[in-house]
Amino acid sequence: MNIHEYQAKNLLKGYGVKIQEGIVTDTPEGAVDAARKLHAETGTDWYVVKAQIHAGGRGKGGGVKVAKNREEVKEISKQILGMQLKTHQTGPEGKKVHKVLIAEDVYYKGEHEPKEYYLSILLDRAKGCNMIIASTEGGMEIEKVAEEQPDKIVKEWIDPAIGLQPFQARKVAFALGLEGKAHKEMIKFIQSLYQAYTAADASLFEINPVLKTSDEKILAVDAKVNLDDNALFRHSDLAELRDISEEEELEVEASKSGLNYVKLDGNVGCMVNGAGLAMATMDIIKLSGGEPANFLDVGGGANAQTVEAGFRIILKDPNVKAILINIFGGIVRCDRVAKGVVEAYKNIGDIHVPIIVRLQGTNAEEGAKIIEESGLKVYSAILLKDAAQRVKEVLQ
């Protein structure tokens, strides 16, 4: 699960991680109040207005702007709130901005020059443990740094049994070339960050940039946090941070019916049991000349209700020109799935797109018979190859 920057910063702050302070709001008037409050708390005279959407690259898209007084805070908030913000991560249609974070200006002048760093904690799948990635090249995309200046990246792996050790935090701080007060602050920053990471059952913390201010404070200017969905059962407070307005409407609806659905841009919808087979079915659609309109895993308990819910969700996508149902019956019996398809078809009534049902495994032949005898405009197949051929035919 993804959360917003302001939520992520609150989470970090709770574990003693220093952050760029800010107040979230959803109106221009609220933004002015927030600025006033922020001035009283931090003494800041300039402000940063930051669009809160679940995507990176907000600055380049015009979603992050500096305001030099409260009048500007109001003006800029007015522009950003409600805008359709497009970044390299939102897709061409962009994302609507519902909230802005009014943040303090942390790039103020002082004894030293402010400097940006990069720091993240994430799961290293290959090693089966968490790792820290740090770089002196803050504010840049880390993938780019890794490609162009791999020597500028430091990595530190954390033993899950003993956790992050002080020497590791020291190593990172030294590798970033920090000295004196900033060095000490960075060590504390890394340790608090790791504490927050494990406590929240996160799978990614990306702080880009981490800022060394002109008075040598270390703080998080941005925060990207991914939480492990499988661990949300033990974090009810974090589960509440879910913002469904950031998610695809159909995906939210599907999850209510216990379906695992991901919306895509293609023209052939599919409904499959099992994630691996679902991905393979999408591949088959592509190889047959179509484009998958979605990923949909009905899971191990496919029945009439789930099949109907699946149908309804797929049919809400206007791009869908055909539907391929691919069920490999193991525990799930194909005849029951077939009955579910027929029932769902009748309940929904006017289905205008061709449907291809491929049933294999337990009671596959009985299932195919039910489909054929139903008199519905449904094509039946038993081999995956036949299903692929059918898709090709209906698309022509």
């Binding site: 799961l123 089966g128 899950p160 059952d201 088959i284 592509k286 190889l287 490999f328 995956l384």
Partner: protein, 318 residues
């Protein structure tokens, strides 16, 4: 106990005891067989009960089960124990299959490892990643093989089914299968059988980001298994397991033909496709990149999942 067990296996395999060490290894290589003494953790729960019944019906040697606080009861005509240790002590259990809910599953795996179980098959889906990190670390220095979690299990046809797969699909033969996915494993097995071949052992390694046995380790078990002539290796987007396995196979000089398929050629980057581990995170994570590496390492890569059966049959004829 260990000695007696390996002797038993030798006798059953009908092989001269001079090759004790080697043979013992090869018998273990298929993970489960008809002599495996299997217990079910989460035995009395609805999932555990349903699948234990199915496994018993298949002929798997289920010697009992574990449900804490229900020790002493009898379930499906088999004893229930409070702890895995009791099941090991009293029944000589050496394989455990886990149906414990996600919040308690990591603990159950570590209990089995601590009790001396040799093969642990964790079916449970949805175990927190941090929990699995602890598990992986805990079992690192123990003499145990963990399969899964979030997997369909392991089947050696006509001997033992330790998992949730439909047994009738898996006819006996010489093709080993390694896969991250459940139903896609059944699909591959079905195609292999329809191509006139059969399965030696199918290992569902699981679709989570952290799993006990990697693709490479599972492939290695099948490469060392005298009953396996060729291997079907099915992967998906995310992680580097397939690339690692492919490079290992090449280093070994491609001792047995391997047909490979990667699901998720059409998956968009950054989106999780059902399995917690199925997410394209970097350039090497994509189906395309993995297939390219596999091809370069001498594997027979199929683009369409419908071609697995025919391809393995064609490869074996060569």
């Amino acid at each position: 106990m260990k000695q007696r067990l390996s002797f038993c296996l030798l006798v059953n395999a009908g092989i001269c005891p001079i090759f004790v060490r080697k043979i013992n290894r090869s018998v273990m290589s298929v993970l489960v067989n008809k002599d495996s003494k299997v217990i079910v953790q989460g035995f009395t729960g609805s999932e555990g009960t349903f699948h234990a019944e199915q496994m018993i019906e298949y002929g798997t040697n289920i010697v009992g089960g574990v449900t804490p606080t229900k020790g002493g009861q009898t379930h499906l005509d088999r004893p229930v124990f409070n702890t895995v240790q009791e099941a090991v002590n009293e029944k000589g259990a050496n394989v455990s299959v886990i149906f414990v809910p996600p919040a308690f599953a990591a603990d159950a795996i570590m209990e089995a490892a601590d009790a001396g179980i040799k093969v642990i098959v964790a079916i449970t889906e949805g175990i927190p990643t941090q929990d699995m990190m602890i598990v992986k670390n805990y079992i690192k220095h123990k003499d145990v093989t963990l399969i899964g979690p979030n997997c369909p299990g392991v089947i050696t046809p006509e001997e033992a089914k330790v998992g949730i797969m439909p047994g009738f699909v898996f006819k006996k033969g010489g093709i080993g299968i390694v896969s991250k996915s459940g139903t896609l494993t059944y699909e591959a097995a079905d195609q292999v059988v329809k191509a006139g071949l059969g399965i030696s052992t199918a290992i569902g390694i699981g679709g989570d980001p952290i799993i006990g046995t990697s693709t490479k380790q599972a492939v290695e078990l099948l490469m060392n298994d005298p009953e396996t002539e060729a291997i079907v290796m099915i992967g998906e987007i995310g992680g580097n397991y397939e690339a690692e396995a492919a490079r290992w196979i090449q280093e070994q000089g491609n001792p047995k033909p391997v047909v490979g398929f990667i699901a998720g050629q059409t998956a968009p980057p950054g989106r999780r496709m059902g399995h917690a581990g199925a997410i394209v995170g970097g350039k090497e994570d994509t189906a395309e990149a993995k297939m390219k590496i596999m091809e370069e390492c001498g594997l027979h890569v199929v683009k369409s999942p419908a071609d697995i059966g025919e391809t393995i049959a064609a490869v074996l004829k060569k």
